[in-house]
């Protein structure tokens, strides 16, 4: 229990620092940034209670907001995907989820990719709608969502491959 707690604390801090100090300065093509801090939400253990996850997502989003002066857009988007995560898990993993026995290191690559992709697209859609906050610029929202999502998905898949412990 203690071990899991410390792992997630370290992950929380590392992802926030990485996001704020490195990834937000990429600005590829002017505005495309990956937001990989959602890996924290994606890889959170499924057995833990839903309330814990929602509160923690709010916290990580708010920390990012604090650094980026963005009001509450990251907090809002993070809480939204934390809330929607069970549904996304069900659609991407199907029956394994029913048995509450997913290990993110062991599931096959295809369904993991679907899971990340769904989570990222939903997150970015909420994020950019909140950021731009105007129906007349819906095209800009969709454009930003599309390009940033591609970048985020790519990066988060790479990171999970690099940091996954080899199960021998």
């Amino acid at each position: 229990m203690n071990n899991i707690f410390s792992v997630h604390t370290v992950r929380f801090i590392t992802l926030v620092i990485c996001q704020v100090l490195i990834l937000n300065h990429i600005n590829f093509m002017g505005y495309i940034n990956p937001y990989i801090y959602i890996l924290f939400i994606a890889l959170f253990p499924i057995k833990n209670s839903r309330i814990t996850l929602i509160v923690l997502s709010f916290l990580i989003g708010l920390t990012i907001d604090l650094f980026l002066d963005t009001g509450g857009i990251h907090a809002g988007a993070s809480v939204f995907i934390a809330y929607a995560r069970p549904v996304i898990l069900k659609t991407s993993f199907g029956t394994i989820y029913e048995h509450q026995s997913i290990k993110f290191n062991t599931v096959d690559f295809g369904s993991k990719l679907t899971y990340f992709a769904l989570l990222t697209v939903v997150h970015h859609l909420v994020l950019f709608s909140l950021e731009i906050f105007s129906f007349s610029k819906i095209l800009l929202v969709l454009q930003k969502t599309l390009f940033s999502s591609i970048f985020t998905i790519l990066l988060s898949v790479i990171i999970t491959i690099i940091f996954s412990r080899k199960s021998k």
Binding site: F67, L68, G72, G76
Partner: protein, 255 residues
């Protein structure tokens, strides 16, 4: 639980979209300001060369002004800064830049302890940057001109037709000047500067040059697309302008 937290974040978002609403989620606090400052101490080495270039260019310009206006540089130095001057200047460094969002906010390393307050103007050697929003003891946030909520009075340099400087959220190189009357003689390449109609910026701070322009939907006003003099993606050394007469001007308006 979800709806509570989602509601809170929505509230913060709405607050951040309205100008100068009191909120506590900003990067001018002890923790984020401290982290940004220490990282900036390292990062600033990487663009020393380009920043030095900018500063020496400005020195050149100021020196030629000084010589050509016949000031004697060898006179005894007296602190005459406060006599008959209506603007006071402070120097500062940007420790967090941002230009890819639709509401960009910068962080600088001067705050209440350096007598920086809300609504001071911020410029660089090339032109306008933004307006101070929140201050903490050692840091302050700046609403960049690349912010869709920012509205600054600006005018054409050759005539006195004025309008509002806004940003459409698309490119960090261009800003928009709206509400310029149709009668104004606008041409591509004209210089735009601040108008001095608000009490924040003095008249004549350079903003940019006209890239293209068109009439708005009602066909009464021009919408001018202007290229900013500042490269907003590469700014470090800035000046903060305090208008000493702000309180007097505001009193006059409130009477």
């Amino acid at each position: 639980m979800f709806f509570l937290l989602f509601g809170i974040s929505l509230l913060f978002t709405i607050q951040s979209h309205s100008y100068h609403k009191s909120k506590f989620i900003n990067s001018a606090n002890f923790l984020t300001g401290g982290i940004y400052n220490s990282v900036n101490n390292i990062n600033s080495y990487f663009n020393l060369k380009s920043q030095n270039q900018l500063l020496s260019e400005e020195n050149k310009r100021l020196r030629s002004l000084l010589i050509n206006n016949g000031f004697k540089t060898d006179s005894i130095f007296t602190d005459s800064l406060m006599f008959n001057k209506s603007y006071r200047f402070y120097t500062s460094n940007i420790i967090k830049n941002s230009y890819s969002l639709s509401t960009n906010i910068l962080t600088i390393n001067k705050g209440k302890n350096d007598s920086i307050k809300q609504d001071f103007g911020v410029i660089s050697s090339k032109g306008i940057i933004g307006i101070i929003d929140k201050t903490s003891n050692n840091y302050a946030t700046v609403i960049s001109i690349l912010n869709t909520t920012s509205k600054i009075s600006a005018q054409l340099k050759k005539t006195n037709h004025f309008g509002t400087l806004t940003w459409n959220g698309k490119s960090p190189e261009f800003a928009q000047l709206i509400d310029i009357p149709k009668i104004a003689p606008v041409k591509t390449g004209d210089t735009i500067m601040t108008s001095g109609r608000s009490s924040i910026f003095p008249k004549g701070v350079p903003v940019g040059i006209v890239e293209n322009f068109k009439l708005d939907q009602a066909e009464n006003y021009y919408e001018i697309n202007l290229k900013l003099f500042n490269d907003m993606t590469n700014i470090e050394h800035v000046y903060i302008i305090e208008n000493v007469n702000t309180s007097e001007i505001n009193n006059l308006f409130n009477e």
